[in-house]
């Protein structure tokens, strides 16, 4: 038997002999959004369950985290009975929340989990995993208020949010996006009374790497300070500042199946889901220039941030690869960075928790690996509970070229840009013809569609969009992006030398982090492909993004009462440029950065460049 722990963020295994204090069928590490339902469902399916939770209540972001409203998702699932009980306690006794009252939800979860026989271990943390030679769990080591415990189990459900237990065990995982490893920003939430209602200020408070203890500590302290009002203003009486940081994205554990953004957009839909999630790709990243191409196709070129889509999620996305009977439950499931934006909403996570708990109980009772539990053993139960309710998408239906043309000419061309780019064989000639149309929207949006599809015919109109400083912002659903930034991005993607002078001109007059970052990234791409222009590009970038430059990224606020928080981006931008220019053999001075206090991703990039 081995004890697997994390040391300096890496899994370390040592042989261990230990006597367990107790034995359970299932240990659920983390009783947040997914974990609470996992523990409840496992117990209701006959398993003996130990629920381990760092906080002193269940519910995670919904309760302690102060996010007491559902963001999309679809109704159905065991959690509805929790919410019903919560509403029963709340009515006439507690003030109204948004979708639910977090205090009464916590009480309802206490009641129902205890009632089902879950042994609740609050204020406790799993710090190690015991594994056998076949990477099957034997038990866990935990710190509790009474001291250290070692408990045995057959199945571990890692609902820690961060995939911590999986990481301890040595499971593979990814973190963040390709360019700099950065995950989405995290929130800080404060809860206050607003007349007879409960209200929250939920705003993005910065970036952190959730697998680093020091960075998390720093992040919590700095973000909580944002709730202080300026001198002279009166503080709103707070009820609480969230006792967990609002982490949206941490480790994404490698499981038997990974849902990727590309596969999703290519139309792949997993068969045999255990639940459906429903949301937009709710990325809080505001620095789109640094996201992958496909994300920018969707977000910048087509400006489809607000489009809600339906996601069938199979069990295999939670079955940890290389291990027996360990599941990654909740937002640490096996998705890529962009899918993580969509597959983290409370309703969906609660359903996935329910599915995991149900299957874990069956596996434990039969003494088999989760992979051996057949779908017919559990699917009827999930279906009856409502986990498999299919959400209705409301997407524009573009059946022919006329529909496409009308939509491209409209103020809300997003779906048409996407549809056109994805069906370029069918619409390519039409789009090319429309480039010359007098209707500016039709012409320019056709260029975006063609550019997204990688078609160089788009180039002249894309260049014109930039040269004319096109001010169009589409009226698609929420959070639309200026067309000019889509064009700047696509010019970089197309890689043609003709774009360089236009973009050099653009960046010299650009202001603000959005314009500069998009232009910068496109110029770096163009320089990669056009060696003879590298020196010229390097000189302009050195002049524009220099040591005294200040670029502040306004982070997203998810509520009316949120703070406006800016993240300084200049150092990161300089490091991105330095990394590329080093490969070109061009000079770019970042010597001052060595003496600066940098973020973890900046430090990592500096090491790379140095």
């Amino acid at each position: 038997m081995y004890l697997a722990e994390l040391r300096d963020r890496k899994s370390v295994k040592n042989k261990a002999e230990v006597a367990f204090d107790a034995e359970y069928d299932v240990v659920v590490a983390g009783l947040g959004t997914a974990g609470a339902l996992a523990a409840l469902s496992a117990a209701e399916n006959g398993a003996s369950v130990l629920g381990v939770e760092k906080l002193n209540l269940c519910g995670g972001s919904a309760t302690a985290g102060g996010v007491f409203g559902y963001y999309y998702g679809v109704a159905g699932g065991r959690f509805e009975k929790v919410d019903e009980r919560s509403a029963e306690i709340q009515k006439g006794n507690f003030i109204n929340g948004w979708t639910f009252n977090p205090e009464t939800k916590a009480i309802a979860l206490d009641e129902q989990l205890s009632g089902a026989g879950v042994e609740l271990c609050y204020c406790a943390t799993v710090i190690g995993v015991y594994l056998d030679d076949n990477n099957a769990p034997r038990g866990v080591r935990l710190v509790t208020p009474e001291g250290l415990r070692n408990v045995g189990c057959k199945v571990i459900l890692d609902a820690s949010g961060e995939g911590e237990v999986c990481a301890m065990a040595g499971a593979g995982y990814v973190e963040g996006r390709g360019l700099d490893g950065q995950s989405q920003p995290f929130s800080s939430v404060r809860v206050f009374a607003d007349g007879d209602k409960m209200n929250m200020a939920n705003f993005d408070a910065g970036y952190a790497i959730s697998s680093d203890g020091a960075d998390m500590s720093r992040a919590v302290i700095n973000s909580a300070s944002l709730h202080l009002v300026p001198e002279g203003e009166t503080m709103t009486e707070l009820l609480w500042i969230a006792t967990i940081p609002g982490i949206r994205e941490g480790r994404l554990i490698e499981c038997e199946k990974t849902l990727t953004f590309k596969n999703y957009l290519d139309g792949e839909r997993p068969e045999n889901p255990v639940a459906y999630c429903f949301s937009n790709f709710d990325s809080h990243s505001q620095d789109w220039a640094f996201e992958e191409d496909l994300a920018q196709d969707w977000m910048m070129a087509a400006s489809l941030w607000g489009t809600n889509v339906s996601f069938p999620v199979p069990l295999e996305c939670m079955i940890v690869k290389g291990f027996s009977n360990i599941m990654a439950v909740g937002r640490c499931l096996s998705v890529d960075h962009m899918m993580a934006c969509a597959l983290r909403m409370q309703r969906g996570m609660q359903k996935l928790g329910q599915a995991a708990g149900t299957v874990a109980a069956i596996a434990a009772s039969r003494g088999v690996d989760i992979r051996e539990v057949k779908r017919e053993e559990y699917i009827a139960q999930l279906e009856a509970a409502g986990c498999l309710t299919i959400p209705e998408e409301e997407r524009a239906v573009l059946e022919n070229a006329e529909d496409l043309k009308d939509a491209l000419a409209s103020a809300a061309p997003g779906e048409a840009i996407w549809h056109g780019s994805r069906n370029i064989d069918k619409y390519g000639n039409d789009l090319i013809a429309w480039l010359a149309d007098d209707n500016a929207n039709l012409s320019r949006n056709s260029a975006l569609a063609l550019g997204t599809a990688g078609r160089k015919e788009a180039l002249p109109v894309l260049l014109e969009i930039v040269k004319s400083r096109d001010a169009f912002i589409p009226a698609n659903l929420r959070r639309n992006q200026p067309r000019i930034l889509g064009a700047v991005y696509l010019l970089g993607k197309l890689g043609e030398a003709d774009s360089i002078s236009v973009l050099l001109d653009y960046i010299k007059s650009a202001s603000g982090v959005q314009e500069v970052s998009h232009a910068m990234m496109s110029l770096l791409r163009l320089g990669r492909k056009n060696e003879t222009r590298r020196e010229e590009i390097a000189q302009v970038l050195s002049a524009v993004v220099n040591a005294s430059a200040e670029y502040n990224l306004l982070l997203k606020s998810s509520s009316k009462s949120g703070e406006e928080v800016s993240e300084p981006m200049a150092d990161l931008m300089r490091l991105i440029i330095a990394r590329e220019l080093k490969a070109w053999g061009c000079e770019y001075d970042i010597s001052d950065l060595r003496a600066k206090r940098l973020s973890w991703r900046e430090r990592r990039m500096l090491e790379e460049v140095a």
Binding site: E5, L6, R7, D8, R9, V12, K54, N56, L57, I89, G92, N93, F94, I95, E103, T104, A106, I107, D110, S114, L120, Y122, T125, I127, V143, P145, E146, G147, L148, A193, D196, M198, S210, S211, D212, G213, A214, M216, S217, R218, V220, I221, N222, A224, S225, H227, L228, V229, E231, G232, E233, T234, M235, E237, L238, L239, W240, I241, T243, I244
Partner: protein, 275 residues
Amino acid sequence: MRHYRQVIFGGSCWAIGSLLAAGEGEVLLVERSASLGGEYFDSYRRSEGWDAPLDSAIAANFRKEMGLRNMLRGDATDFYGLLPAIYNRLGANTDNIMMMSELAGVTKITGGYELELYNHSGRNVICCDEIIDSTPTAVTRPDFGKDSIKGKRLNGSVLVSEGVDFFSHKISGLDLRPGRSGQEAFISAAVAPESGWVEARKQLADAWLARPAELRDCLVRAIAKEFEYAHKCEHYEIDENWTWINASIYSNPLLAIDAGVGAVKSGRGAEHVSC
């Protein structure tokens, strides 16, 4: 292995005062949760005496900050408003604070102690000359912690409906006291020291649900996220240079911060009456 002169367990207001007064790198504050000052702020413990004299500039500056934001109102002072100001001040000290860190073990070594800690990065062993445990449950010595508790309360904030004379009524199982405004009252349930969170929340909720009809329109706004503890003593020498202190004996968090600062300046460590 990283060494500190002193490691303080518990992000208490007393500990924060000590940290702010200490020299750079000397003191490490370790808190298992993602919150500081829970013994005052998230417990909704009664705080009073806000105009009591303060010895330290650190505490006085906090009081000034409260004043500049209209928080100081005598007994109706918005105590919770001090918390963001504390976080703001600690922004320069994040290297000396380990939040969300569990203690797995204490080993006595020559000249001090070795501490096995766990946080998001994993296991981390450090050493120190001195341990101060300012946690209400004595995380460094849980068996002592359990025995030291003489009382425990779970509090809640209530919205008092307009026109309701809240304090002229009694609620069985709950003590009542005024809040930070005419619209707020605090309810308080004395729970058994061995009560866990499930039992305590249920006890508070059940008592509230059974309140008199005249208070029907009043509604709970929030339940405290920490217990309010009463301890049998103020100070306990667990071992040589390893002390537990009762960090909530002060009338308000400012006095607690002040005391923490004073402990560093006097060089006498925790200034509490011994058990």
